[in-house]
């Protein structure tokens, strides 16, 4: 029991962040708050991969001593999820940029950012045209 808690507590903190992000995306009515929830959700997924790639007693995956001999894989943490998450971070920034551009365009067209009012105005625009 103690063994299982010690091995999994990091994942439970990441799921707390995931719940906060999902709460922002589902239960808030303003579009900008939904976008902030989406960014928090994305960060929690990145942290999950980084937490899963650690080894007890390991160090950063930069070779000490310029590699005169074959490195021991027990002292370096797993480098592959770190590489994939570098890509994911930058893609997250690009996605947030595009999402905010879309929010600005919606505001210029409909002059509201509240989601039920927005849906009502879009439906009226569809019925009128």
């Amino acid at each position: 029991m103690i063994e299982q808690i010690l091995g999994h507590y990091a994942y439970w903190f990441v799921f707390l962040l995931l719940t906060i992000g999902l709460y922002g995306m589902i239960l808030k009515r303003n579009l900008v708050k939904k976008l902030i929830g989406m960014t928090i959700f994305q960060v929690s997924v990145i942290l999950f991969y980084i937490a899963a790639s650690s080894k007890w007693g390991g160090t950063v995956p930069v070779l000490l001593g310029h590699g005169e001999h074959t490195p021991d894989t027990g002292i370096y943490i797993n480098p592959l999820p770190h590489t994939l998450m570098l890509t994911a971070i930058v893609v997250g920034v690009a996605t947030a940029g595009v999402a905010f551009a879309l929010v600005i365009t919606i505001f210029r067209r409909y002059h509201t950012l509240n989601e039920p009012d927005l849906l009502k105005k879009m439906k009226e625009g569809d019925d009128a045209s």
């Binding site: 994942y11 799921f15 310029h66 480098p79 551009a101 365009t105």
Partner: protein, 101 residues
Amino acid sequence: MRVVNWILLLIFTGLMIFASLGLPDRGKIEAPLNRETSAANTPNAPSYYITHAYEDAHTPNIVTVILADYRGFDTLGEETVILAAGLICLLLLRRRKASDE
């Protein structure tokens, strides 16, 4: 309607915590993520990268070697994604003088 959303949120979180109890313990060397060879007796990718990074590229930083040399094609695709996002913002938001609003 909001009560249904709250219940769905709590069910989702409970499901994720229940699913994470099946994950192996974090940080052990015997986990399938950190082994030397995989279950089918092929070399496991992260330990291959650690042992062969210096003799292939004379570079101590293993993450940069993976990002730019072993998996360089994925980095090219990701740069294209960044460029596409910049072009989307340009096309959506730069207004010409003639067609305003």
